[in-house]
Symmetry: C2
Subunit: 307 residues, 2 copies
């Protein structure tokens, strides 16, 4: 599904590899040591956070700062807030009253390792800490994150997803998009917004950045659903075929595998066009082409990734 792409995201991958250590170090600084009281709480927060995954959302925030002419270094702490929100949502999703998952990334989930009450409270504390961190980027960054994570965003999408499971997974494409735009997409858009606000990027780029974010957010989810059909356990770090096994509606189940792949390519191409207008709203200059290329490579990477 990457035939249409001139490259498979090399500039994005290089950017992500270059900035990931700083994100990791910032998360280390933000979460109190497990020697600080209450120790069980801080140990549970750290269990959920380390070792981490790709830290995609913080990298997106730093990338948005760079692409709109701002300074990624100024956005580091607010960028880390995105990972705190993402991780809290995983801890709460794994709880027995939700998905009741015992394993995540091959390790016991937080409530299995620390008990349900500590996992619930560790999630609450991670979410709260996220807002302390994003406040370094100013009140606009706080509002963008809160709106994306709340009842009209991520949490709302989560409730919609639970209700869909109750319906036996027989969804319309419209409803599937409603759920994913909130459950996954809203936080991806907020990552970019926070990066622009906190990094001092050009606010004139915000509308175009949001459209770009909605498009890659949807591409991300379509690619996720495709990977659950075509991926290998080794690459994914989990068993593929889970969606079908649980009778969930997905883009491949509604559009067919070929239809879903075509949709992913179309979304990546759309995002590449939006990348251009997002960067052109910002400052001109020698860096313009490389900034456009960065956002475009992210779009191609999102649909080409194998994990």
């Amino acid at each position: 599904m990457t035939d249409a792409a001139p490259a498979v995201g090399a500039r994005f991958l290089e950017f992500a590899a270059r900035h990931r250590p700083a994100v990791e170090a910032e998360l280390e600084r933000l979460i109190p040591s497990a020697e600080v009281e209450p120790r069980a709480l801080h140990a549970a927060m750290r269990h959920a956070m380390f070792p981490g995954g790709k830290r995609l959302r913080p990298v997106l925030a730093l990338l948005a700062a760079e692409a709109t002419g701002g300074d990624p270094r100024a956005a580091l702490r607010p960028a880390a807030a995105l990972e705190l929100v993402h991780t809290y949502s995983l801890v709460h999703d794994d709880l027995p009253c939700m998905d009741d998952d015992a394993l995540r990334r091959g390790r016991p989930t937080c409530h299995v390792a620390f008990g349900e009450a500590n996992a619930l409270l560790a999630g609450d504390a991670l979410l709260t800490l996220a807002f302390e961190a994003v406040a370094e980027g100013g009140a606009s960054a706080v509002k963008a994150l809160a709106a994306a994570a709340g009842s009209l965003g991520m949490v709302g999408g989560q409730v919609g997803d639970l209700e869909a499971e109750g319906l036996g997974g027989d969804l319309t494409l419209e409803r599937l998009e409603w759920i994913h735009d909130r459950k996954t997409g809203a936080l991806i858009v907020a990552s970019l917004e926070v990066g622009v606000f906190a990094g001092g990027g050009d606010p004139a780029a915000l509308d175009a950045i949001r459209s770009y974010g909605r498009t890659i957010g949807r591409a991300f989810q379509v690619a996720d659903d495709i990977l659950d059909v075509t991926g290998t356990a080794e690459a994914l770090g989990k068993m593929p075929g889970q969606d079908a096994a649980h009778g969930k509606s997905t883009y491949p189940s509604l559009l067919g595998l070929d239809g879903a792949m075509a949709a992913a390519d179309r979304l990546a191409a759309e995002a590449a066009v939006l990348a251009e207008s997002a960067c052109r709203s910002g400052p001109d200059g020698a860096g313009l082409e490389s900034r456009v290329g960065l956002l475009q490579d992210l779009a191609y990477h999102v649909v080409a990734r194998k994990t």
Copy 2:
């Protein structure tokens, strides 16, 4: 225990009664209607929030704005955020993996009425909405609220309290204060801080306001423990004697009932002195005496209240 007080908080009670309708209206505006999707989520959030109690924390925020020469009206939305945080903490505390309570204020708790998953997510959404609301008061207000509500504040105190229950309730006075200063006190101090930041009060008053807040926070908890011994079911809206029945360490169990009453009076008197220095750090003028009186009456009310 109110013999030492010149009045039992009349100026505070008048202030609270005057501002409570605006707080209520602001909470109504903040939480989406139960007609907005996902309806079950918004209905669960509203079930937890309405009808409410005394809305003490928002009133404290407005009072701190007034006492430090700011404008309570400018602090209204950030003040409402304090009630959102308080309410989320009650929803999560009532969950089966925590206190497993079926009733609150005589009504089914959120998870009894809407199921565990919806209650968990309603709590998450209320906490998230709190940060959207407090952001109207600027980044300093956000940081104050997040620090008070997180792992080194309210959530940390909650974990300490759960651990204390596991120890059979045999606590030292020092540990009891450690728990309560975080579980209850931190959010009371943050209410005052948010009011000063959001209402445009004099920042020079912040240190004194914090000392005052820590003192009334502790007085509040001592009075709560006393009411559980001396209160009536009718006035409290719940059965008294719960602490003793659960073998919990309390101020009366550690200091005796007379000792606890003396401690409450001493804390109220200390707070009255701190009220004076908090207001004198702010602007002078005709209103100074009434501003001091407002904070002092709150201190007397906290230990004199019957509910």
